[in-house]
């Protein structure tokens, strides 16, 4: 499933998107020695999860999430660049400006593969907006330098509307690493996993629950016009 790439760039807006969305695929790339760089759009400044019991407040949250992001990227052994946008506002930025900003990184890194969200099928407005800007950035590149782009859809209906994803990557074998990366996001994880995470839950039970929901990383290969 995972091909030999030169360099992979992952583009998502929030610290933790990388761990839930692509940690297994990233691990597979890194296991083959392929460099991976995460362009993280914001620091999740407006997140409402503050830990339970709360360990953050609105003003300390970005600092805490930045540390969590660095810890997760360390676990996944990937480089990270923070783009400096403000959580929840990406859809109001000028898309072309954001695309040009992203393109600066892509021109420098010259990746063979870019992973981002599928616009309009990614639930969170920041996901949709940064996905759209990333696609625009890749589309602006010369065809001979243009990387392949994998777009990730997460709405409930994406399968029905978009059809079967081109890439269905089973990352069960990478689940330990993926869970370790997810758990780096301490301020977020309890809120996000609260539907099935019980206090004092054994690590392997939690791992099974996470595996049930996050062991398939699915992507569509973006088709550019022309």
């Amino acid at each position: 499933m995972i091909l030999m790439e030169k360099h992979v760039v992952v583009i998502y807006p929030h610290p933790d998107d990388e761990s839930f969305g692509a940690a297994g695929s990233v691990t597979q790339f890194r296991n083959k020695g392929i460099p991976v760089t995460y362009l993280c759009g914001t620091l999740g400044e407006m997140g409402r999860n503050m830990g339970n019991p709360t360990i953050a407040n609105r003003e300390t949250l970005p600092k805490i999430r930045k540390q969590e992001l660095l810890a997760a990227c360390n676990v996944l052994d990937m480089e990270v660049e923070m783009l400096g946008y403000h959580d929840k506002t990406l859809e109001f930025e000028d898309r072309n400006t954001v695309a040009l900003h992203i393109k600066e990184y892509l021109d420098k890194i010259e990746p063979s593969l870019v992973i981002t969200f599928y616009p309009d099928y990614a639930v969170h407005p920041d996901h949709n907006a940064l996905g759209a800007a990333a696609i625009e950035a890749v589309g602006m590149m010369d065809i001979e330098k243009r990387p392949v782009l994998w777009a990730q859809a997460i709405t409930h209906d994406f399968h029905e509307v978009l059809g079967k994803p081109d890439i269905i990557n089973d990352v069960s074998a990478e689940m330990d690493k993926k869970l370790e990366a997810i758990l780096c996001h301490k301020s977020q994880v309890q809120g996000l996993l609260s539907q099935f995470m019980q206090p004092g839950m054994e690590q392997d039970v939690l791992k099974q629950e996470v595996a049930k929901r996050f062991s398939l990383e699915q992507f569509y290969i973006w088709k550019f016009d022309e």
């Binding site: 407006m46 409402r48 503050m50 407040n57 609105r58 003003e59 969170h124 409930h156 309890q190």
Partner: protein
């Protein structure tokens, strides 16, 4: 943050009266509300670094949840559901309301200097 002590918060609020201050006001039920529950609505609003001056300030409530009203020359600032408070190292007053899972539902913050942006 710690549970609101109404007397202490009232005292701090009054220190910000009748001078130019910066306010962060926010309410949210999260960007995934209608993703997790089809019948839910996504609603939220925030304003960061509104420059205002208030002439009256009061915190009211009981049983752990409070309302705060700040009277402006030409209007009001209001927040409901406040449960916790703190003063940051930067000397900024943070008031927030959290649900049972520790998620922020409402925030009202006041500072003499702008909040990080």
């Amino acid at each position: 943050m710690k549970p609101v002590n109404i007397t202490e918060v009232q005292t701090v609020l009054e220190q910000y009266m009748n001078k130019t201050v910066y306010v962060h006001l926010e309410t949210t039920n999260g960007a995934y509300a209608s993703h997790v529950n089809q019948n839910a609505y996504n609603v939220g609003a925030f304003i960061r670094n509104a420059e205002v001056k208030f002439t009256n300030a009061k915190i009211v409530g009981s049983n752990g949840t409070y309302r705060v009203g700040l009277k402006l020359e030409m209007g009001w600032i209001y927040a409901e559901g406040i449960t916790d408070w703190t003063i940051t190292d930067d000397d900024q007053l943070l008031l927030a309301g959290h649900d049972r899972e520790g998620r922020l539902m409402v925030a009202l913050q006041v500072s003499n200097h702008p909040f990080r942006y």
